[in-house]
């Protein structure tokens, strides 16, 4: 059985990997980096049987600060996803990225490190630090290896998320200070805060303000309508691997924060704001889908589809039902897999043709049959076809939300129209790329999947179906965790 | 004649005695001594016509200076030109105010408690001397600047830099003496040297202090500010008449002050000999002197004379050095100050402290 030192390994390994990669030179960089990522993935897999782990060491006792790490189902699967996607993106980047290779790989490991630390930490101060730190590697990844408008995109990305985080800092401090006022001692451990706030809830008014400060930060990260406009820009300009991690991991931090911090700490406030937030989610779902349909840039299309999908996640969260939460969590993972795979697929074309314009392609099903099959599978996973992973998440969210007391069932109906709209834009994409006649002689030169691509896509496609047909390995632990969280939320708010 | 009046009279007496000595006796005599010693060293006569042994020569010179026309060149800065010699004398005189010239005495029972033989009975005399001593630089700086003459300015620049630098060295050297004596009160410092003059434990300090006072008073071998060969005569090139006389006067007063300070700090002040104080000889400096039964004045005069003799030796040293040691170059001067004396001074303080602490502990 693993003990709590496992958490230290989990947290520290990527940092060490960052350093190792940063100081590697020459041809070894890629392989060193990829093998480190693979080792880390294996390490992360080892923790599968772990239900709960807690590590604490005193940092600064007078202010109640500690090196607190906490692993449970919620953090575990996101870590696994992050390790998995990092491994895949780094493997993908081999042969695609040539300049400043060591820095590139090191930044991905650094991103991994901050994400994992952010997911694991049980200390509000650490949480904030790593929350901010996450921005930095991504900022450089987009800013250095990005597209032509990368400066605009990085500025937008950074300012948006940073503005949000600052608001969250206020909320964190308020949470921290309120605890002190109540108990007379300092503590920034999430667990002690949670216990305290459950036993002595803050006045609703106070809760609301703190919750708002949290929610804006998380909403920007998610991104929830109307804070979503940074996402398409960032995605379009980011290098493929950056997009994968951005969509697959970084966006999840927002929803993770909601599920881990915002709602459990302030259930009353969450209930109070649930309705408008649900409304925003629904707007985001529909807007994302409709706008995605009208895109000519493939990456932008996928980016807007992310907005739509994450709208589902937030809807599931704010409808405040257990089933909805399980679905939301599952949908986070699903989105990571599907959207990550979609970005990789776009990258596959982009690396060969250097254009993301949808109209440059057509009839690729003939030229690239394997590619088209994988694209279709992933696209249908993205539109939540039963039998794929997307369906389970969406079904749980919709069924859960429908039972919610938070908002009318009509909203769920409105949100579900995304099933139709999603089909519209995804089939639009598939049709424009794969079907029809090929108009461009350049497309004739495209090569289909080689060994490298199969290595990348077989796990992804396998995951699509594994989760689609047997989600219990993931849902089981998550369901228990959700039950545990919901047992702390007052009955009348659920 | 009540006690207050006696006190006032005593106060006035001290002032008269000291300033009378300083301005009316020491300065003229020193000018004469200087010239005579110079002549002696250079194997010539020196002034020997006015008065016996030419002793009145200085007086005649003084009269001449007073009677000369008050020249004021066109380009000078008027106020400061006049101000400089005046403020040259003030600190020199002020520093003199705290120099004790004898042991505290009741003047043979005139007072209930022993009175100190210094004009301002300040208990932080050492610091006061340092404070006032540091002001001497103003007059030189101002004089040079006000003269609006490039030699003068250069001279005053040199003077200020040099005085600031060596003031530090002197201060550092004296700090170790203060550490040894455990007081900043000059009288107490002297009293602490009853058996052991500070020159013995503080020899290193004296080695630092001695060049420092030469530099402070702008005397050869550190007379760069007025180096005739380079800067004509530096900051007082444009001065003549009594304004020049004031500078001249102040220089000798300063010499006296620093000599007195050296004696007080290192050479036991008015004490008789090293390891042999008056007390052991049989002179009770605080009261009656058994030798002369009932007459109290010698109790003051004998230590005072002894003190004056020591000071005179240092004055002679100044003169002696002036005519025997060649002038330093300016960068040599500065590097001696900053790179040798000041680090040495700091080292000396640490050493002294360590020794004292060690001594206390054991």
């Amino acid at each position: 059985m693993l003990n709590e030192n496992y958490l230290l390994v989990l947290v520290l390994f990527p940092f060490i990997a960052t350093l190792i990669v940063a100081f590697t030179r020459g041809n070894a960089v890629s392989w060193v980096s990829i093998s480190l990522a693979a080792i880390y993935f294996v390490i992360a897999l080892l923790g599968f049987s772990v239900k709960e782990l807690h590590y604490t060491a005193v940092w600064y006792a007078p202010l109640g600060l500690s090196y607190g790490f906490y692993l449970d189902a919620y953090s575990y699967f996101l870590i696994l996803l992050s390790a998995f996607l990092t491994l895949i993106s780094l493997y993908y980047s081999r042969g695609v990225i040539h300049e400043k290779l060591a820095a590139y790989h090191a930044l991905f490991h650094a991103l991994q490190a901050t994400v994992v630390a952010c997911l694991l930490c049980d200390d509000l101060v650490f949480f904030y630090v790593f929350w901010e730190a996450m921005l930095i590697p991504m900022y450089f990844i987009i800013g250095i290896w990005g597209g032509p408008r990368r400066i605009y995109a990085t500025m937008k990305f950074f300012l948006f998320t940073f503005a949000g985080s600052l608001l969250m800092l206020i909320g964190l401090i308020a949470t921290y200070v309120m605890y002190y006022k109540g108990t007379g001692q300092w503590s920034s451990s999430f667990h002690s805060l949670l216990e305290y706030y459950q036993a002595h809830p803050l006045s609703v008014e106070t809760q609301r303000w703190i919750f708002l400060s949290f929610i804006i930060s998380f909403a920007i990260k998610v991104p929830l309508f109307p804070f979503h406009t940074w996402l398409p820009d960032a995605h379009v300009e980011a290098p493929t691997a950056g997009s994968v991690i951005l969509a697959g991991v970084l966006l999840k931090m927002g929803t993770y924060g909601l599920m881990r911090f915002a709602v459990p700490l302030f259930p009353e406030a969450a209930a109070h704001y649930a309705m408008p937030l649900c409304l925003l989610s629904v707007i985001g779902i529909i807007l994302g889908a409709l706008v995605a349909w009208r895109q000519t840039d493939i990456k932008k299309l996928i980016a807007y589809s992310s907005v739509s999908h994450l709208g589902f996640v937030t809807l599931g969260i704010f409808m405040m039902t257990e089933i909805g939460w399980n679905g939301a969590y599952l949908q986070m993972i699903n989105h990571g897999i599907s959207t990550g795979a979609l970005f990789l697929l776009v990258g596959f074309l982009y690396d060969q043709r250097h254009t993301r314009d949808i109209s440059a392609y057509g009839g690729l099903a003939k030229i690239l049959p394997a590619y088209s099959v994988v694209l279709a599978i992933i696209a249908f996973s993205s539109v939540a076809l039963p039998g794929t992973n997307g369906f389970i998440g969406e079904l749980l969210i919709v069924i859960g939300s429908f039972q919610s007391k938070v908002a009318s069932w009509g909203w769920v109906v409105a949100a579900s129209t995304a099933a139709v709209l999603g089909a519209i834009y995804m089939l639009h994409l598939v049709q424009k790329i794969c079907y029809g006649k090929n108009q461009d002689p350049q497309n004739e030169q495209l090569y289909d999947f080689r060994f490298r691509e199969w290595v990348i896509y077989i796990p992804l496609v396998a995951l699509v179906f594994i989760i689609g047909f047997y989600p219990e390995w993931l849902l089981g632990p998550v369901r228990e965790k959700t039950m545990q969280i919901f047992s702390t939320i007052p009955q009348h708010l659920r | 004649m009540n006690e207050t009046m006696i006190a006032w009279a005593f106060f006035a007496g001290k002032i008269l005695l000291l300033f009378g000595l300083a301005f009316g006796f020491i300065a003229p005599i020193m000018v004469w001594v200087e010239r005579r010693v110079c002549a002696l060293i250079q194997d010539r006569y020196g002034p020997n016509r006015v008065g016996p042994l030419g002793l009145l020569q200085t007086l005649a010179d003084g009269i001449k200076l007073l009677l000369k026309e008050d020249l004021r060149p066109n380009e000078v800065r008027p106020w400061f030109f006049i101000l400089a010699p005046i403020i040259c004398v003030i600190p020199a005189t002020m520093a003199f105010a705290v120099i004790p010239f004898g042991p505290p005495t009741t003047l043979g029972g005139l007072f209930a408690e022993p009175k100190r033989l210094q004009i301002a009975e300040l208990n932080a005399g050492f610091l006061y001397v340092l404070a006032i001593g540091s002001l001497g630089v103003y007059s030189i700086a101002l004089a040079g600047w006000a003269s609006n003459n490039k030699f003068s300015v250069l001279g005053s620049l040199r003077a200020s830099a040099q005085m600031i630098s060596y003031e530090l060295a002197a201060g550092l050297a004296l700090v170790s003496v203060v550490l040894l004596s455990g007081s900043v009160d000059l009288v107490k410092i002297v009293e602490s040297q009853t058996y052991l003059w500070n020159i013995f434990p503080g020899f290193l300090a004296f080695l630092i202090f001695l060049p420092a006072i030469f530099a402070e008073t702008n005397r050869t071998p550190f007379d760069l500010p007025e180096a005739e060969a380079e800067l004509v005569v530096g900051y007082h090139t444009e001065y003549s008449g009594m304004k020049f006389g004031l500078f001249f006067l102040a220089e000798y007063v300063n010499m006296t002050t620093v000599s007195a300070l050296a004696v007080l700090m290192f050479f036991g002040g008015w004490e008789f000999l090293p390891f042999l104080p008056w007390k052991d000889v049989g002179v009770d400096v605080n009261g009656l002197i058994p030798l002369f039964g009932g007459f109290s004045l010698p109790a003051v005069i004998i230590p005072f004379s002894w003190f004056a003799a020591k000071v005179a030796f240092f004055m002679f040293l100044f003169v002696w050095v002036r005519w025997t040691v060649p002038r330093f170059r300016y960068d040599q001067l500065m590097s001696l100050g900053w790179k040798t004396l000041i680090p040495l001074g700091i080292f000396n303080i640490i050493l002294t402290t360590a020794v004292i602490v060690f001594h206390r502990m054991s």
Binding site: - | F80, N123, L127, A141, L157, M163, I164
Partner: protein, 192 residues
């Protein structure tokens, strides 16, 4: 009126006068001179207040060291009026003076309260000696405020290093300097 009061008022008047002159005289050297006077007077005031040691330090450090440095720099630069700048215009001066006056008024309003109008107490013996004496001050300084003392030392050291760095100029290579100066003279000579 006691003698101390007379002394105080005359000192205060002179201090204010010299302060005003420091602010108002156009040339730096005059300001410096008045400031030196001001420091002396302030030192006198400190003696009246019983802080003898402070008074001596005021003369030693302020008048004897800091101001010497100023005068030294003034001499070094040897500026003419063109180089030390034009005078501020009347509107600016009067605005500044007005605000200064307002500040004085407001500050005075703050302290013009009955409890601050009580006379100062007589000087007492503190534990280590008379108030304001070197013993008394140093006992407190080196016991209660030893950290402040140390930090002051560190600040001084930092300033020392900083000034050294600021003032340091690479000395020109001597031979080269001579060479250039001769060529300069030759040029000058050629030109004239």
């Amino acid at each position: 009126m006691e003698i101390q009061q007379i002394l105080f008022f005359s000192f205060a008047a002179l201090i204010l006068l010299s302060a005003a002159l420091v602010a108002l005289r156009p040339r730096p050297i005059e300001s410096a001179m008045w400031l030196i006077l001001n420091f002396f007077l302030t030192a006198g005031l400190y003696i009246l207040l019983g802080s003898n040691f402070v008074s001596i330090i005021q003369v030693l450090v302020y008048a004897g060291a800091i101001m010497v440095l100023f005068v030294f720099v003034i001499l070094l630069l040897n500026l003419d009026p063109r180089e030390f700048g034009s005078e501020a215009g009347l509107p600016w001066t009067s605005l500044v003076m007005f605000i200064g006056f307002l500040t004085f008024i407001v500050l005075s309003l703050h302290v013009a309260t009955p409890e601050l109008m009580k006379k100062l107490p007589e000087i007492k013996e503190t534990g280590a000696g008379v108030f304001g004496s070197i013993e008394s001050i140093s006992m407190v300084l080196l016991k209660n405020y030893v950290w402040g003392f140390e930090i002051a030392g560190v600040i001084l050291l930092l300033a020392l290093i900083g000034v050294g760095l600021l003032a340091y100029r690479k000395p020109p290579v001597r031979a080269r300097a001579i060479h250039t100066s001769t060529t300069d003279t030759m040029k000058d000579g050629g030109a004239s």
